[in-house]
C-alpha cells in the first residue's frame, strides 16, 4: 500500500473511532435522560424525579385492577417483581392492557406514593406465538416471560 493510501486509511479509521468515542461519552453523560421509563424499584430507592413528569414501567399485578363503575377512572399496581407502585389513571386504556402485561405510564408521583398517570402505553414483549401454543405453555405451568424491567444498566 502506498503511503498516500495508508494515510487516508488511517484518517478513515480515525474518523470512525473518534466519532465513536465522542458519541459513547455523550451517551454516557445523558444516560439518565435516555431511559424511557423508571422501574418501581428506582422509585422506591428515590432515583425517580419527584417534582416533574416521568414514566414508570412494569407489569400489571394480577387482580390489582380496580375500575370505577361510573367513570373511566382505573387504578392498578405495577411491579418489577422487587417493588410495586400503585397507578391511578383517568382515560382509555390501550388494547393490549391486561393483567400481567407490560405497561409504561407517564405522570407524576404524589405525596402518598401513588403515581397519577396522564397517559398509559402498552409495552409489547418480543414473544410471538399462536394462541394454542400460549395456552399449552400456560397449562404446562410455564409463565410467559415478559420483557425485563431492570433499568439503569
Amino acid at each position: 500500500m502506498n503511503p498516500r493510501r495508508r494515510k487516508i486509511l488511517f484518517s478513515v479509521i480515525f474518523i470512525v473511532a473518534g466519532v465513536g468515542v465522542a458519541t459513547a461519552l455523550v451517551l454516557k453523560a445523558f444516560q439518565e435522560n435516555l431511559l424511557y421509563f423508571y422501574s418501581p424499584s428506582q422509585i422506591a430507592s428515590g432515583e425517580a424525579p419527584d417534582s416533574r413528569l416521568f414514566r414508570v414501567g412494569g407489569m400489571v399485578v394480577d387482580d390489582s385492577v380496580v375500575r370505577d363503575p361510573n367513570s373511566l377512572k382505573v387504578s392498578f399496581d405495577l411491579t418489577d417483581t422487587a417493588h410495586t407502585v400503585t397507578v391511578q389513571y383517568n382515560g382509555i386504556l390501550p388494547d393490549l392492557f391486561r393483567e400481567g402485561q407490560g405497561i409504561v405510564a407517564n405522570g407524576q408521583l404524589q405525596d402518598g406514593g401513588v403515581f397519577v398517570a396522564k397517559e398509559v402505553l402498552a409495552k409489547h414483549d418480543e414473544n410471538y406465538m399462536p394462541p394454542e401454543v400460549a395456552e399449552a405453555l400456560e397449562n404446562a405451568g410455564a409463565e410467559v416471560q415478559y420483557g425485563d424491567y431492570k433499568t439503569g444498566k
Binding site: 487516508i8 478513515v12 474518523i15 466519532v19 422501574s39 409495552k123 420483557g147
Partner: protein
C-alpha cells in the same frame, strides 16, 4: 488489491456484470416476495395477544434490518472509494442512499401504524425510534450533499466522510433496546438463545428478509448502471454503447 475480484472493479466489467445479474435477482426476489407474503399473511397463525395485527412484522422487520444493512454497504463502499480510489465504489455508495432512505421510511411508517393500536400512540421519543429517525436524516443529508456538490468526485468524497461519521448510529440502533429502557420491545430473532417467535411465524419472516435483500441488490444493479454511465460518460466504451444503442 482484491485478487480475482479486481477485474470486476473496472467500470465496464461491473456494468456488464450488473446488466446480467439484474434480471435474475429481480426474478428470484419477486418469487420470494410471493412465497413470503403468502406465508406471512395466510400460512402463519395469528398471534396469541395481537391477533392479526402482528403480521405487519413481515414488512416492518425486514425493512428495519435492510435500513441498517444498506447504510453499512454505503459507508464501506464510500470508504473504499476514499482509500483505494475504486471507481465503482462511488457509484455503489451513491446508488445506496435513496434505497436505504426508502427502507428506513418504510420501517418508521409501518412501526407507527402498528404502534397506534398496540402501544396506544403513533410515536414516542424512545432510544430505538429516535435513533432510527436519525438514520433517515443521515440518508437525507447524504443525498442533499450529493445534489449540492457539482463535481462528482468531490461529492463522493464528502458523502463518504459523512457516511463514515454516521456509522456509529448503526450499533446504537441495534443495541438501543438493550442499553436503555425503551417502549420498543427487545430483539426477537437475533438474540443469543433461541428466537422467541414460533417457527411457523419465523419461516415466512426469513423468506421475506431474503426477498428484501435480493430486491435491494436488484435495484442496486439498475441504479449503479445509470451512475456508472454518467460517471464514465467520456470514456470510449460508454460512447460506443450509446452509439450502438442509437444504431440498433
Amino acid at each position: 488489491m482484491f485478487g480475482p475480484l479486481d477485474k470486476y472493479a473496472a467500470p465496464e466489467r461491473f456494468y456488464l456484470l450488473c446488466k446480467s445479474m439484474g434480471p435474475w435477482l429481480s426474478a428470484i426476489s419477486l418469487l420470494l416476495f410471493l412465497v413470503g407474503l403468502y406465508g406471512g399473511l395466510v400460512y402463519a397463525p395469528s398471534d396469541y395477544q395481537q391477533g392479526d395485527s402482528f403480521r405487519i412484522i413481515y414488512v416492518h422487520v425486514p425493512s428495519a434490518w435492510m435500513s441498517m444493512f444498506v447504510y453499512v454497504v454505503m459507508a464501506v463502499s464510500g470508504a473504499m472509494g476514499l482509500i483505494w480510489k475504486v471507481k465503482i465504489s462511488d457509484a455503489i455508495a451513491r446508488s445506496c442512499a435513496p434505497l436505504g432512505a426508502a427502507f428506513t421510511f418504510l420501517a418508521l411508517a409501518t412501526g407507527s401504524i402498528w404502534g397506534k393500536p398496540m402501544w396506544g400512540t403513533w410515536w414516542v421519543w424512545d432510544a430505538r425510534l429516535t435513533s432510527e429517525l436519525i438514520l433517515l436524516f443521515l440518508y437525507f443529508g447524504y443525498m442533499a450533499l450529493q445534489a449540492a456538490i457539482e463535481d462528482r468526485r468531490m461529492a463522493a468524497r464528502a458523502g463518504a466522510i459523512l457516511a463514515l461519521a454516521g456509522l456509529i448510529n448503526i450499533p446504537i440502533i441495534h443495541y438501543s433496546v438493550e442499553w436503555w429502557s425503551t417502549l420498543h420491545q427487545g430483539p426477537t430473532v437475533s438474540k443469543m438463545d433461541a428466537p422467541s417467535i414460533h417457527t411457523s411465524m419465523l419461516i415466512p419472516l426469513l423468506i421475506m428478509f431474503l426477498a428484501f435483500k435480493l430486491y435491494f441488490f436488484a435495484v442496486l444493479c439498475m441504479r449503479a448502471r445509470c451512475e456508472i454511465i454518467e460517471q464514465e460518460k467520456n470514456s470510449r466504451w460508454v460512447k460506443q454503447l450509446a452509439r450502438g444503442g442509437v444504431d440498433s
